[in-house]
Amino acid sequence: MAENTATLPAVRRTHRMPLSKRLPLVFLALLVFAGVFGPLLAPYDPTATNSSEALSPPSLAHWFGTDQLGRDVFSRTLAATRTDLLVGAVAVSISLVLGTMIGALAGWRGGRMDVVLGRFVDSIMAFPLFVLAVGIAAGLGNSLTSVIVATAIVNLPFYARAVRFEVARRRNAGWVEAALLARIPPVKIVTFHILPNLVALLATQSSLNMGWAILNAAGLSFIGLGIRPPEAEWGIMVADGASYIFSGEWWVFTFPGLALMSAVLIFTRAGDALRQLLDPRSK
Amino acid sequence: MTPDWTKNLVEARNLNIRFGSTPVVDDISLDLPKGRITALVGESGSGKSLVAHSIAGILTPAARLEADRLSFAGVDLRDTKSPGWRDLRGRQIAIIFQNPRAALSPVRRVGQQIGDVIARHRGLKGAELSRAVVEALGAVGIVDPEARQNAYTGELSGGMCQRVMIALALACNPRLLIADEPTTGLDNTTQAAILDLVVDQIRARDMSCLLITHDLALAREYADDICVMHAGQIVEKADSARIFTASQHPYTHALLKASASQADSIASLEPIKGSLPDLNGPLPACRFANRCPRAEERCHSAKPPVSGPDTARVNCWNPLP
C-alpha cells in the first residue's frame, strides 16, 4: 500500500510538472541561448566606442544607455553573457571532474587515502571560500585562468564530499564484491557502475554551483582580478559603472548587475527544478 | 466555567474526528467515571491516540473535531483556547506517551521540566519549588532524585525517562491520567514495573485513568473497564472480567479467539479475516461489517444500535448471545 501511494504521484509529477516549476528551466534555455548567440544578436559592436554618445541614458536606440566610452550597454551586457557563462562552465567542469575523482578515490580506497584527501577537502572548507578564491587568484597571478582555477578549487569540496559518500556507501554492496571477483578493474566498476547512479545528484549540484561560480568569478573581476577591461564581463561592467553613480548615470552599473543577478537566480532555481525533476521524492 | 466534581470526569457524545474528508473517528461516545481505570484497546490505527489527544487538547491542527458533547467535570473541552480549559491541562488532566524520551525536552534538565509545570499550576518558587520537584521524582521511585533532577533525557534509560514522565504527570495531583501505550518499546520487566507504578499511584491518589494499549492481557490485568475500538468506532465496553468471559461483539470475540491460540497481545495475533477498512473509501455503517462472520444486510446500511447495561455495552446489530 505504502509503495503504491509513494510511486504513483511521483511518476505523474515527473511528466507533468506545473509550469511554475518548469519556468526556471525555460529561462535556463533562454540564458544559454543568449550565451551562445548573444554576440551575434547584439545590435552594436560591444567594444565599439563613440565618444559623442558617451553616457547617454536608456533610449530607443540604446535600450540600456551607453557607457563612458559611448559603448552600447545592452550589447555589452548581452555579449558578456558568453564570457560569464563560459567562465562558470569551465570552472564547474573542473570542480566536477576533479571533485569526482578525489571523492571516488577517497570513497573507494578508504583508509589512509580517505583521511588524507578528507583533510585536504576540509582544509579548503576551513577558509571563507571567497577569501580563499582571492588568495588563489592572487597566488596564480592576475589572469583569467587564475580566476577560473580559483573558482574551481573553492567549489570542489561539494563534489568530493558527495561522491565520496556515495561511493563509500556502495563500495561494500554485494554486486561490487561480485564484480571484483570477476576481475573487473575497480576503475571500470566505479566509472561505469557506481558513478552513473550519481548523475542526477551531480547535475543538480552543478546547476546550483554554476550560479555560485558565476557570482564568485564576477566578484573576483569586480575587484580587478582576471578579465581585463575592454572585454565585456558583468563584474567589470558593474565596477566600471560604479564611478558614475555619483553623477547619477545609474544605467551603466545597473543593467549588467541585473543580468548577473538574473543569471545566478536562473541557475539556482533551475538546480532546484532539476532536483525535483530527477528525484521526485525530495520535496 | 469551574469544574463540577460530582459529574463523570470525561463525557464524550458523538465524537467525530476527520482529516480533510476522511472520517477517522466515527461518532464515539465514552464516559470516564471517577476512580476507575478504563482501558481503550484496538488495533494499530484504530484511532485510540486521537481520542486521547482530543481529551488532552493536543489534536494536530489538521484534525477536525466535532462532538455533541466533550467535557471534563462539566468543563467544555471543545474550546481549547478558553482560559478555564488551559488551567485544567497538566493540573487536572495529565498525559504520558509511548516514547518518553521524545516526549520530554532534550535540552532541559528533567527537574527543570517538572519545575516548569509545578510553577505553572501550583505557583511555587525557589526552595519550595525545588523541594516539590524532588518530591515528585521520589514519588515515582527514582532513587537519589536530588541528583537525577539534573540529568538530561539523553543521559537516562527509556524506563527512567518514563518514570520522569510519570513524575511530571503526577506532579500536580491531577484527577485524570491518560496513558497512551506507556510501555510500548520498553523491555518486559520494565514494562511491568512501570505499569505497577502507574496503577499504584492512581489507586493511592484516587485518580481515574484512561489506559491505551493494544495488549488485551495488559488491559485485563490493570483495568477495571475495557473499551474496544475498531477503525474509529467503539464496538464494546464492559468490565474487564466480562470482556473475557462474555464478550458480545464479533470483533472482540475474534480478538480473543486469536489471542488465546497464540500469544497474549493483539500485535502478535493471527490476522483476523480482512484488515482495517480503508477510511478514504466508502465505509459500511458498521466498519467491521466486511470482516464480520455474523454480518447482515443492515450492518452495511445502518448504524448498529447500542444495547446492554453500563457494565456490558455493545454496538452491534447481531451480538453474540
Binding site: 596564480l140 548587475g257 548577473l260 | 498525559i95 535540552v107
Partner: protein
Amino acid sequence: MRLPRRLLSAVPSLIGIVILTFVLTRLLPGDPAAYFAGPAATPESIEEVRVQLGLDKSIFAQFVDYISALSRLDLGRSLSSGQTVVDDLTARLPATLELTVSALLLAAILGIALGFGAALRPGRWPDRLCDAVTVFGQAMPTFFLGLLLVYVFYYKLEWAPAPMGRLEIFYSSPTEVTGFWTIDTLLEGDIGAFQGVIRQLILPVITLALFGLGPIASMTRTSLLQVLGGDSVRTARAFGLSSRKVLWTYAFLPAAVPILNTIGMVLSFLLGANVLVEKVFGWPGVGAYAIEALLVSDFAPVQGFVLLMAVTYVVVNLCIDLLAAAIDPRARTDG
C-alpha cells in the same frame, strides 16, 4: 574538562590552513623571486630577493622558515606600505570586525525573527517573505546590492552619507580603545561623531546583512518547524505551559544548534563578501587593504589577509561550538 578537547579539534583545520596558505605562495607561475622583487627589478635585485626570502633553499626548509616566522607572528612586510603586514592588518582589522560583527548580528536577529514568523504561519506572508529573501539573497551579488543602495540612498534620496570610510572628514576620529568606533565615540562622549559612525555603517551593514539573512531565516524556519511538530512541544502544550514558555524554552532552545551552525557558515560568507563591500564603501578594513596590495602584486599582505580571515573563521566557529554545547547537551557528545 571538555574545553581542551574542543580546542584540540580546531588544530587540524589550523594545520590545513597553514599548509594551504604556504602552498598559495608557491603557486606563482614563473619565478617567485622575480614576482616579489616587482616589475622594475634587475637580475641582481631578484637574486637578492631570492636569498632574502629564502627561496634558494629547499621547499622543506622554506616551509620550516615559514612556520618559524608564523610562530613569531611575522607575516612579512608590505612592499607598498613599507610596514610589517602584521602592523597593517592590526590597524585595519577593527574596521572590518565592526562591519562584519554588526552585519552578522543584524542578519541573525532579522533572520531568526523572519524564520520564526515563517514557522508559526507556514504558507502565509512571513513564509513567502522568508522564501523570497532566501532566493534573492542567494542570487544578489553583494557588490551590486551595495551600489544600488548607494545610488538610491546617497545619490537619489540623500539620506545616507557618501560611501567613503568610517566617518565623514568633518568629524574627528575617536582615539582607539576597542577599535570599534561606535563604542570609542561613546567612550569619548562624542554623540555627534557616534551618530556619524552609525550613519556610515548603515548601508554596508545592510548590504552584508541582506546577503547573510536568507540561510539563517530558512534554517530557523526548518529547525523550528521540526521541533514544533515534535513530541516535546506537544507535551509542553498538554501540560498547560504558557505559549511564551512553549515557544522559547521548548521550541527555540532545541532548535538553536542548527541555527547557530548556520550563523557560523554565514560568517564565512560575510568575511568573503566583506572584500567586495569594503571596496564599494571605501571601508578602510583588511579586505580593501588586501585588494590594494593584490593589484600591485604585493603578495605578503594578501597572504596575511587570507590567513587572518581563515583563523578568524576557525576561532569563531570554535566559539559557536562551545556556545552550542552550552545550550544543547546533545551537542556535547559528538566531535
